[in-house]
Symmetry: C2
């Protein structure tokens, strides 16, 4: 029954699991790791078309490979453990308890919506106030020193204004909570997919994320606050629903019944939706985002609660921000991302092909952007590993951002008469009196305000040459910035790049067809922005609705949809969306919506980890302690001992249930032994929930030598009827079961219901369609503990 023993005989069952004996080579890499990570290098001559398996080598795995799954991630438990304790609770508390939980659930969603909006407002107001101070001072300084020829002074000031906040943000992220880096959307996506990402929904992460994003945006980085807001919403949801904070060691003793993976995950999907809703003022878009990008489980009542949280979030934000802006009660105030009203836009039939082409362009540019960002991220993973170096990189990017902006407005002296464009701080620079420098007005504001300018500036505000240089510079700057050790998202810089080349398209069209009156270049800026964003993130449905809700324009739905679908298809031809690429890069065993094709001939017996370590229904305490110390498995099948009337001894036993490591630890900690405990009334489902989510380590549980001779009856605690499949089940069959029900462990049984193996998330996530030099087949990823 030992973990490393691969030679167990199977003499008991009449029809032995045929495929198991086929394995020529069972190698286990780093067997001291968390969970079953046995790797089979089986090259058996199966009737598959083409199948490639990544060769196993004992060398260090190369960083940046997309063919590796990390062994360190575990699944959340979405499946309810229907043990005796749950039944007991249900019987005792009855229907009232269900009603109470239901009301509490709605209440928590209310709180999530409100708190997310409040955090969003704090971030927004801070960014606005600090940016106003910064750019007013810069603008004044330029005007003051330009006549004296001392432009190095405002330049130095600009660099300082950028570097100082970025330094603070980068220090926080690098030294306090590295998981708060970037937009957070990939992490939230993984969490909602059912992967336990360590520390992703902690209060500390929320704090670093909020302060970090203010620093990044004020620091003038090419990044936005929308992605981080979604992450903030998710943390708020996880925190509120648990009624306690492990960081602050404070337990409010409320919502105790929500302390399990299933409930928490539902709340997080609501929180992510509330985050989108607050960030974009798009409650419907929030729900769709949560569904399209995240939640694996569509459930009507959950969707309604999610929608409720989104609406509350938008409403709260409206109330606060409209008051802040001096128009209290004006509840149609949009979210954080205010792109202005597009009421006047309309489109003609002949423009649809143009939008289609722009969508394709966006797909291409987006794919290119993703590729560049991917290369930079791999470079970072390899070489920018020390924390101080990460901070230095952030400072460097901040300084470069100021430098390119300064060079642009200095070299391309793009002047326009004053009073034409809606600029807050018109900077004259080298322009004549009565004119202002257009580029200075774009650089001397937050990227979000720049997007608004590009959407709404009247025709002829922007010339072709400055726009081209702006697109090129911002494109690369954004690709460099995203993924740094700072909290910032990619929505805004991507929209900005797209809006700029969208205006370029309208200028080009004007040159080609000077006679056709195109309504407004802002329309093309909007389509360009959507195309670029669609090409980078590859969302279709939710992005359409988010942009519709943000711009307040519904007649524009069709052009947006055409653009986004074209962008997605074009982009998908080259590579995957940025979030999926990042998830692959981090080796998270992410389960896609469908099993890969062409794998009907891969069977459970090939995929499963075996031999599997089992426990008896009534088990010796010493044995349990030893098992927990020696292995790192998280789930143990509980079996009847093998039948004695068979001639050969076998390690198999007939399945009776499934018990988790965390449950065993609580049992040991509470000393629920047959010999000592007869007070069954004190043993309730709540004692397990109270320890959630950070169960003690087995080494911290004190078990005396005498206690080790005791025994424990696992039957009241185990899940008595876990879903199982036969060893002859195909991979798609297991995949669908696992995905649809959100399982963590799937015991594999033979013909007489004896446990012969165990399948976990990694065993299913590692199969993928592989395309290489015209050949297509199924590829098997390597599982490693190194990344």
């Amino acid at each position: 029954m030992d973990g490393g023993d691969g030679s167990s005989q199977n003499g008991h069952n009449q029809t032995p699991p045929a495929k198991i004996t086929k394995f020529r080579n069972v190698v286990s890499i780093n067997n001291d790791s968390d969970e079953d990570i046995i790797i089979t290098s089986n090259e058996a001559n199966l009737s598959s078309s083409v199948r490639r398996r990544v060769q196993i080598s004992n060398e260090k795995i190369q960083t940046g490979s997309l063919n590796i799954l990390s062994a360190k991630y575990e699944s959340l438990d979405y499946d309810t453990c229907e043990n005796y304790l749950l039944l007991d609770e249900e019987r005792k508390k009855g229907y009232k308890f269900i009603v109470q939980k239901s009301i509490a659930r709605w209440f928590v969603f209310l709180l999530i919506g409100m708190l997310t909006a409040i955090i969003a407002c704090i971030i927004d107001i801070s960014v606005e106030e600090l940016s106003r101070m910064k750019y007013r001072s810069l603008s004044k300084s330029v005007d003051e020193y330009v006549t004296q020829g001392k432009l190095y002074i405002p330049y130095g000031l600009w660099v300082a204004y950028n570097v100082v906040p970025v330094f603070i943000g980068a220090i926080l992220v690098a030294y306090v909570e590295p998981i708060a880096a970037g937009s957070g959307i990939p992490q939230v996506k993984c969490y909602l997919n059912g992967v336990k990402i360590p520390r992703v929904v902690r209060i500390k992460t929320l704090f670093v994320k909020s302060v970090g994003v203010i620093c990044s945006v004020v620091g003038g980085l090419a990044g936005g606050k929308e992605g981080p807001m979604i992450h903030c919403g998710a943390v708020v949801a996880a925190g509120m629903s648990q009624g306690k904070s492990t960081t602050f060691r404070k337990d409010f003793n409320i919502f105790r019944y929500f302390r399990e993976d299933h409930e928490k995950r539902d709340f997080v999907s609501g929180g992510a939706a509330a985050g989108v809703s607050a960030a974009f003022g798009a409650p419907v878009g929030g729900v769709l985002f949560s569904l399209e990008e995240g939640t694996s489980f569509w459930n009507q009542s959950l969707t309604w609660r999610t929608f409720f949280a989104s609406v509350v979030s938008t409403f709260t934000l409206n109330v606060i921000l409209s008051t802040y802006h001096g128009v209290p009660g004006n509840l149609s105030y949009p979210g954080l991302l205010n792109l202005g009203k597009f009421d006047s836009f309309n489109y003609e039939f002949f423009e649809l092909p143009i939008f289609l082409i722009m969508g394709a362009m966006g797909g291409f540019f987006g794919a290119l952007w993703n590729h560049i960002n991917f290369k930079i991220t791999v470079f970072r993973m390899r070489y920018i590993r020390p924390r101080w170096l990460k901070v230095v990189e952030a400072i460097l990017v901040a300084a470069v951002s100021a430098t390119v902006g300064f060079l642009m407005m200095f070299i391309l002296n793009d002047c326009k008469p004053l009073g034409q464009g809606p600029t807050k701080y018109p900077t004259q620079l080298y322009c004549l009196d009565g004119q202002y420098n257009v580029l200075a007005s774009i650089w001397f504001q937050t990227p979000e305000a720049s997007v608004r300018s590009l959407f709404h500036d009247p025709p002829n505000t922007h010339d072709a040459l400055p726009l081209i240089s702006f697109v090129v510079i911002y494109f690369f700057l954004a690709a460099w910035t995203f993924g740094m050790s700072t909290s910032n998202g990619l929505f805004i810089p991507t929209l900005l790049t797209g809006a700029a080349w969208g205006r370029l398209v309208s200028i080009t069209l004007y040159y080609i067809f000077p006679n056709v009156a195109l309504v407004h270049p802002g329309k093309y800026a909007l389509i360009g922005a959507a195309a670029q964003l669609g090409g980078v993130v590859r969302m279709t449905l939710s992005l359409t609705v988010i942009i519709m809700e943000t711009t307040g324009n519904i007649t524009f739905a069709l052009p947006l949809i055409i653009t986004l679908i074209a962008a997605k298809w074009t982009g998908d031809f080259f590579n995957e969306g940025i979030y999926d690429t990042l998830i692959q890069l981090s080796g998270v065993p992410f389960l896609p919506w469908e099993p890969p094709p062409l794998v009907h001939n891969i069977y459970a017996s090939e995929v499963m980890s075996h031999p599997v370590i089992t426990l008896k229904c009534v088990e010796n305490v010493g044995h349990i302690v030893e098992l927990l110390r020696l292995t790192s498995y998280n789930g143990f099948p509980v079996v009847d001992p093998p039948l004695s009337d068979q001639s050969e001894v076998t390690t198999y036993g007939r399945i009776r249930g499934l018990i988790l490591r965390s449950q065993l630890i609580v049992i040991l900690q509470k000393k629920i032994f047959n010999e000592t405990s007869d007070d069954w009334d004190r043993i309730k489902a709540s004692i397990f929930r109270n320890e959630y989510p950070r169960y003690p380590n087995i080494d911290n549980v004190q078990i005396s030598e005498e206690e080790k001779t005791f025994s424990v009856d696992l039957r009241p605690f185990m899940n008595p009827s876990p879903y199982t499949v036969l060893h002859s089940a195909s991979l798609p069959r297991m995949f669908r079961l696992f995905r649809a029900l959100g399982l963590r462990h799937l015991p594999i049984v033979n013909d007489i219901n004896e446990v012969v193996g165990m399948v976990t998330r990694k065993d299913l996530a590692r199969y993928r369609v592989w395309r290489y030099r015209g050949r297509i087949g199924v590829e098997e990823l390597l599982i490693s503990k190194d990344i």
Copy 2:
């Protein structure tokens, strides 16, 4: 092994399924029916809190009971049968086939979107042209005869104009295709839930529905064309995807690989979305409708294709209708339901509580409407059974509709100066010169145009008294009309009722707060319409988006959401939504999103049908024929014969697979016997798909006496690893598995994997939370063949 034998012994397995022996009484009602309909009247003293079981009586079951499930409905097969043939196909055709199927799928969705829109246009244009002729003639006639005092002439004309089209529509529905009655949404909902509703997606149904809905709307019934459009979209999808029409006996030999339940159902969900999209001009709303109301399976790629079909549908409709209306190229033309633009509307903070109260009112009125309609429907089921009587009822309603309209405009002589309201055919009636009769203008147009009038007519157009009488009359008229033997939906009459009382609210508010300038009574009409609709159908998310997209107003999202949530909560307090009520009334075993609460202590052994009829892996042909003739089961577990080393003979065998009746029939028909057939190359997965969906009856399959001695090997055809659960699995566990994977049969096994029972949809759908006189428990529905 006979269906009625409940006394089989279980001496084989070591741990017998404990609960089975508990059954005191196993009664089977009408055992000649389709599927496993064994009913247990077990009152065993289980540890449940309160559990009620419907008493079994041998009397006829009372019509109109909500406690009955009909035995005649079967499940669709969403689970793929991964047999040898499928693997063979996959190996031979490889990845190219997958790509080909994927492209074909997108193409089919394109066709679905286009064809649905074309049908929508035909319906819309027909209704518009015919209605224009009708009401122009009526208006002229009134003006002509009012001075002569011969108002009975226009009245008679009106009755005739109503009765003739309704007569045609009712004849079509009653005699040609009764399933085309009503809106079709409940039927589509059931189909998407996985229930096979006979004839619901046939071409004949589409024809009757299209012509029927034109007749109903032209006939002036209180019904709309939106619900039927959704049904039409579903039929189009089912038809297009199969590449053949059984009605016309025409096989185009295309899309053969889509001929299975799984693919067809996915297409139907796209078709329903395209229908909503065409009906309301709401592509996003269409997708959400399909998700919220229908599809049990959220899948990203399916959602994108659905979205695509919706967009194509809106686009095609825009192109056609804008050309028809003389503004070709104006692509922002809305869907069939054109409620006009709401650009100017805005709302203040203090109005939100008003909207909340209006939502609650809508919920109450909606619940009342549902109750009345429920009572009428039950009355119909009991007494209006002959076809001719159904036609008579429809004629009666048509005549009454004309009569009340006539009486209203005659008695309440509500005159307003001409030129104030946007009326097409101002009728003077008894008004002074220069004035027109407001009520005549509301009645002398389609209900849809009346909704538009109530939304956009300037303040003071409508007085309180006419509005009150209109609300009351239309409320009851709509409740009477819906569910008749005509094709018509409830969206429009519900919106109309709601818009009318919404205007009443604005008038009341004006009396109470004469100093507050309320922007426009049309706003309150919109909120009232939303509240009423929300109270009747109880959809939240999709309805919000549909109304947002239909009115083109996004700033109004929050008030709409508040209203709809309030309406839903209030309505749910009284009864269920109208669609759910109708589904319950028809006894369809509809599976909700979640298992009922408090059923963790109901086990598979209680729920399952047993004993179960099994087949051996290699089975005698005569035995199969006999089985298929004698029973009506649709799925048979394939088992290893029971072990001979056991002392007692048992009917149990170890599960090896699952085979369907339809597969057995095809095997028999194609004579794939061990003795005759060695040409395995001709046996492909396609031979099963070619017969889909109408497999021959066993009586039509010719098997000679000699052939009956042959044997057939079922292993290449059966599903080799069906999902199974242990007899000790709880009801929620089975429910989740069944629901999430769209199963049709769930074999129940004992500890050593022997089949001891079978669970189908009805066994799971019959448990329900029951509230009665303050007590709450779980209720078990009766299954009957009588309804």
